[in-house]
Symmetry: C2
Subunit: 597 residues, 2 copies
C-alpha cells in the first residue's frame, strides 16, 4: 500500500478560489478563519492523517475490530490514534467555542474530514457519527442536555451514535417498533432491537451517547409517531460523573464487505419487562423525532458524500503511484525505446484522468456546498441566508448521491489500473473498492437521495432553487464565452449542453410530478447523476477560469494550474457528454421503466 499525502494544495485552491474562504472569513464569528490559519490547520491535519492514521488502515482491514462477550475490541492502533485525535481537538473543529470547540467554518471542517476519511474510512466513521450527535443536541437539546453532553462529545471523551434501523425498518422508518415508556420521573424506558449501528459499541471512549428513534405507547402510527431519545451507554450521576451501566447491550457485529474495522452493531435495548428498559431522555418534543433525526442525517449525508470523495482520492493516489512504477509494454507511439511505466499507455492515462477529475470535481462541489452552509448560518443578511440555505439543501442529496456513486466507479478503476495485482488483497486497492461500496447505501441509498432531490428539493418549489443553480451556471458560461483562450469555447460548448439537459429535466419533473409520478421517480437517480455531473463540470470550469487568471498574472504554481485546466477540459469532454444520455433516459425512457413485466 502506498502512502497517503493529503492534497493540501488542491484543497486550498478550492477553498480560496471556488468556496470564497475570504468572504467566509469576513462573516461574524469566523474572524479566526484567515487563509493563513486555515492553511496551518490543513497542514497539521495532513500530518496527523498521513503519518498516524493512513499507515494502519490496511492492517485494520486485515485484522478488524472484533466482538466477544458483549465487548468490541477495535483494531490495533485505533485506541492510540483516537486519543491523539481527541487531544488534537479535531472533533471540535467546526463546533461551538462555548462547549470547547474551535468554531471554525464547515468548509474547513470538510477539508479535514476529507483527510480523515482518505486515511481510514473505518476509523473516521466514529467522529462522523459524533458530529451528528452534536448537531442534534445543538438543534433540539435542552440547555441542561447540551451542558451535560456536548463538552465530552466535543473533546472526544465520549462518542455518539444514530439508532434508526430495525430489521423491518430500513429506508422506511415508519415501520419502527422500538418502544419508549414514560416514567414518573420524566425519563423513559426503551426496549427494542436496533441494527446497523455504527460504532454502537467500542473501546475508544469511556461512554457512548446513543440517539435512538422509538415510539411512545400512544404515539400516532407512521412517521409522525416517532420520538428521539438520548440513551447513554453509561448513566451519569447528578454531578456528571459516570454511574451505572444502562440496559443497552451489543449482541453481535456484522461481517461486512468493507469498512471492516468500523463495528456495525446489533444493539438490544432493555430486557423482558418495561422496568428492565434502557433509561432514555427525550430530545425536544415527543413525536418530532424524525424531524430532529433529519438534522443529524442531513449533516451525516453531506459527510458521507465527503467520504466518497475521500476514498476516491486515496484510490487515485495509489493507482497513480503504481502507474508510475509498474513497467509493462512499450508505448504505442514508440516514444520509449522499450517497455516503460504503464502511465505512458493512453488507456491508463484515461483511467487516471477519470479518477482524478471526478475526485477534483467532487471536492469542489462538496466544499462549495459547505460554504453555502457557512454563509447561511453566519451572514446577517437574511435574504442571502435564505438563498444560501436553499442552495445548500438542494446540493446535499447531490453531494451524497453523486460523490458516492462516483467513488464506486473510481475505486473500481483503481483496481483496474493495477491489473491482476489489484485483485490481490495485499495490494490494498481492493480495500478502497470494498470500503466505498457502503457509501451509496448508508445514510439513505442513492434512490432515497434522489427522491429527496426530486420531491422536497425540486418539485416542492416548482424548480425555483434548481433555476437559481442554472442561472449561476449561466454566469460561468458567459465568462467562458467571453474568454479569448481556445479551450474556453470547448469548455463552454459541453457545459452549455449539460446545463440545457439539466434545465429540460427540471422542467420535465415540475410539469409531470402531478400527472405521472411514476415517470418522474423512474428518472430520479438519473436526474441526480445528471445534476452531479453538470455541477461538478461547472465547478471545474470555474477552476479553469481561476487558474487562467493566475497563469496570465504569472502567479502560482504553473504546473499545478495547468493540471487544473486539463482536469476541466477532460471532465467536459469525457464526463459531461453523459448528461445527454441521462436526459434521454429520463425524458424519453420513463415508460419503459414503469412497464416492468
Amino acid at each position: 500500500m502506498t502512502a497517503y499525502a493529503a492534497p493540501v494544495k488542491d484543497m486550498l485552491f478550492v477553498l480560496n478560489e471556488l468556496a470564497d474562504l475570504n468572504a467566509i472569513n469576513g462573516l461574524p464569528g469566523y474572524g479566526d478563519a484567515t487563509p493563513d490559519t486555515v492553511e496551518a490547520i490543513l497542514e497539521e491535519s495532513a500530518k496527523f492523517t498521513g503519518e498516524v492514521l493512513a499507515p494502519q488502515a490496511r492492517e485494520a482491514d486485515k485484522a478488524p475490530s472484533f466482538f466477544a462477550e458483549g465487548k468490541v475490541t477495535t483494531a490495533k492502533g485505533y485506541r492510540a490514534a483516537f486519543k491523539q485525535f481527541a487531544e488534537g481537538g479535531w472533533q471540535g473543529l467546526q463546533h461551538p467555542v462555548e462547549f470547547g470547540g474551535q468554531g471554525l467554518p464547515k468548509v474547513v471542517g470538510t477539508a479535514c474530514n476529507e483527510m480523515l476519511n482518505s486515511a481510514d474510512l473505518s476509523f473516521a466513521l466514529c467522529p462522523l457519527l459524533t458530529d451528528g450527535a452534536i448537531e442534534a443536541l445543538m438543534t433540539a437539546g435542552s440547555e441542561e442536555q447540551r451542558n451535560r453532553y456536548l463538552p465530552q462529545l466535543i473533546n472526544g471523551e465520549w462518542t455518539g451514535t444514530m439508532n434508526l434501523t430495525e430489521p423491518q425498518a430500513g429506508s422506511d422508518l415508519s415501520l419502527i417498533r422500538s418502544k419508549a415508556v414514560k416514567q414518573m420521573d420524566g425519563t423513559y424506558r426503551l426496549s427494542g432491537q436496533k441494527i446497523f449501528i455504527t460504532y454502537g459499541e467500542h473501546d475508544l471512549a469511556e461512554n457512548i451517547i446513543h440517539f435512538v428513534l422509538a415510539r411512545t405507547p400512544d404515539a400516532p402510527a407512521g412517521v409522525k409517531g416517532i420520538s428521539l431519545f438520548i440513551v447513554p451507554k453509561v448513566l451519569l450521576n447528578a454531578d456528571g460523573s459516570l454511574g451505572a451501566r444502562n440496559a443497552v447491550q451489543c449482541v453481535s457485529i456484522e461481517h461486512k464487505l468493507g469498512i471492516k474495522s468500523s463495528p456495525t452493531c446489533v444493539l438490544q435495548y432493555g430486557g423482558t419487562t418495561e422496568q428492565e428498559g434502557a433509561v432514555g431522555y427525550l430530545l425536544g418534543e415527543e413525536n418530532r423525532g424524525l424531524e430532529y433525526m433529519f438534522i443529524m442525517m442531513n449533516a451525516a449525508r453531506f459527510a458521507v458524500g465527503v467520504q466518497g470523495l475521500a476514498v476516491a482520492e486515496r484510490a487515485y493516489q495509489q493507482a497513480l503511484q503504481y502507474a508510475k512504477d509498474r513497467i509493462q509494454s512499450r508505448p504505442v507511439d514508440a516514444s520509449l525505446p522499450a517497455a516503460g511505466p504503464i502511465i505512458h499507455h493512453p488507456d491508463v492515462r484515461r483511467m487516471l484522468l477519470l479518477m482524478r477529475t471526478q475526485t477534483e470535481a467532487a471536492r469542489a462541489l462538496a466544499y462549495v456546498t459547505a460554504s453555502y452552509a457557512d454563509v447561511a448560518h453566519h451572514t446577517v443578511d437574511t435574504a442571502l441566508a435564505a438563498e444560501q440555505q436553499a442552495l445548500y439543501e438542494y446540493l446535499v442529496p447531490i453531494v451524497k448521491g453523486w460523490c458516492t456513486e462516483m467513488s464506486v466507479e473510481v475505486t473500481s478503476l483503481g483496481i483496474q489500473v493495477h491489473g491482476g495485482m489489484g485483485f490481490i488483497e495485499e495490494t490494498g486497492a481492493a480495500q478502497w473498492y470494498r470500503d466505498a461500496r457502503i457509501l451509496t447505501i448508508y445514510e439513505g441509498t442513492t434512490a432515497i437521495q434522489a427522491n429527496d432531490l426530486v420531491g422536497r428539493k425540486t418539485a416542492k418549489d416548482g424548480g425555483a432553487v434548481a433555476q437559481l443553480v442554472l442561472t449561476r451556471i449561466q454566469v460561468t458560461l458567459t465568462l467562458l464565452k467571453a474568454h479569448p483562450h481556445p479551450e474556453a469555447a470547448r469548455l463552454a460548448k459541453r457545459l452549455h449542453e449539460a446545463q440545457l439537459a439539466l434545465r429540460d429535466v427540471v422542467a420535465f419533473i415540475v410539469s409531470h410530478v402531478k400527472t405521472d409520478i411514476n415517470a418522474v421517480f423512474a428518472g430520479s437517480v438519473p436526474y441526480l447523476k445528471l445534476a452531479g455531473l453538470t455541477l461538478g463540470g461547472w465547478q471545474l470550469a470555474r477552476a479553469w477560469l481561476a487558474a487562467q487568471t493566475q497563469l496570465q498574472a504569472g502567479q502560482g504554481d504553473a504546473g499545478f494550474l495547468q493540471a487544473k485546466c486539463q482536469s476541466a477540459l477532460f471532465f467536459a469532454e469525457h464526463l459531461l457528454p453523459q448528461t445527454q444520455a441521462l436526459r434521454t433516459s429520463i425524458v424519453d425512457g420513463a415508460a419503459s421503466v414503469v412497464a416492468l413485466v
Copy 2:
C-alpha cells in the same frame, strides 16, 4: 442466498431465434444437435448446476480452498461435484467425439458454461482452463500428444492450466524469463516462476497438465522467442500410466478479493540446476508459443465474457427475489394501501431492468458470437467460413470486454437493490460483486481487449469487418422501420443513432491510426463499450422482431415474449443513448487524454 435456476427458456429463445441453431444443426458434424436434443441437454445442465453446484457456492466463498505443505485442498463439496461433472461428460460437451467428447456446437457448450459459471465461478474456472488446454492440443499438438492427453482431459481425469504470467510479465509477455533447455532425448528442462496460475494445484484430479510459456537459450528477444511446453504435474510412463512427480511445485496461493475457492497459484518450475528442471514437451514448433497460446487465449477470452454474463444472471436472480420479498415503503403512486414489496418502487424497477436487459443482451451477443464460430468451422462454403470467422474474431474482444465490464456494474446494482443487507457478506450479493471484479482483468484486461479490437480487428483491415457488422445492423433497422408496431420506430431511432456513432468511430480509427496513434488508443476502451452497447442493443432488437412475430402468430408464451419486447425497448432508451457520449469522448476528447499533465 437464493437459489439459482438456469434461465433455460431465454437460452432456448436465443439459440433458436437469434443464433439459428436450426442452421447449425444442418451443418456437417452437427446432425445430433437437434433443437429437442439441445433442450434436453440444457435441462440436464440446469439440474446439475442448480441442484449440486449453486447451493455450495456461498460456503465455498466463506471457507475457501486453502494451501498447506505444498498441497491445495479445494472447498467442501468440490471434489464430489467435480466427479459428478466429469462423469456427466460435461467437460467434453463441445470437444471431438474421437477423443471421447460429445462433439456438440460451441453455441450449446456456451449455454452450459453459462450455467456452470452462474452456479459457482470459482468452481467453473477449472473446466474453463481445461477447455483451453484441449484447444491448444487440438491446434498444435502432435498426434502422439493428442492421444496421450486429450482423452483424460476430456473425461475429467486430468485438468489443464495456462502458465503465462511472471512477476515482471503480465500484459507484456515479451518480458517472460522462464527458461527451457533442450535435452538429448528431445524433451526440455524448464525452470522459472509463474504466478496467477488458476487451479495450478488442487485435489480434484489425479494429474494436472500445465501449458507453460518459456524461452529456449538461443531464442530471439521479445515475443518472437517464446515457446509453449506441456509440463505434466505427474510424468507419464510409456504406457500412459502415472509415473514420477515432475519438478513443479505450488509455493503459495493468493489471498484475493473474490473467486476465493479458485486457487490462484505461484508455481515454481525446476530447482537450482538445469538437470533439476521440470520435464517439458514442446508443443508445435519452437518460438511459436505465443501464437498457440493466443488460440487458447481466444477461447478463454470468449469464455470469460460468458463468465461476465453468468455472474450478472446470478446477481439478477438474487436481486429480483429480494425485491419481491422485501417490504419497505408505500409506492409513490399510492397503488398499494401501505408499505409493499420494493419492486413497486420505480428506481428498484429501473435497477432490475438495467440488470436484466444488459444480461439478456450479453447472452444474445455471446451465443450469436459462438454460432459464428460453429459455422466457420463446419460449413463447407469456404467464403462463408472466412466471413463467419472474421465476425467471430471481431466479436471476441467485445464479448470479453463488454460482458465483463457490464458484470461489474450489474453485480454492483445487485448489492444496491439489497440496501444495507447487500453489504453484509451473509446475504451473498457481495460475493457476486467480488467475484465479478476479476473478469475485466484476467485473460487480458479490458484495455488489452480494446487494443486488440482497435489494432488487429479494426485498423488492420481498414474497418472491413466492422463495416460488415454495420451492414447487418442495417438489415435489422430496415425490418424495424417497415414494422407497423409503434415500438418499432422507437427502437429503430435509438439503434440507428448507435449505429451511426459506431460508424463514425470506426471511420475515426481507420483514418487516424497512422497519423495520431495516441488519439486512437485513448479511445480504445470507449470504442469497445460503444460496440458492445450497439451490438447488444442490436441483438435485443432482433429478439423484439422475433417475439413480435410469435406474438402475432399466437405462438409461444405471451408473457415471456412481452418481457423480451420490454427488454429491447428499455435497453434502447436507457443504454443505447450512452453511445452518443462515447462517440464524443472518442472523436472530440482524445486530445485531453493524451495531454496528461
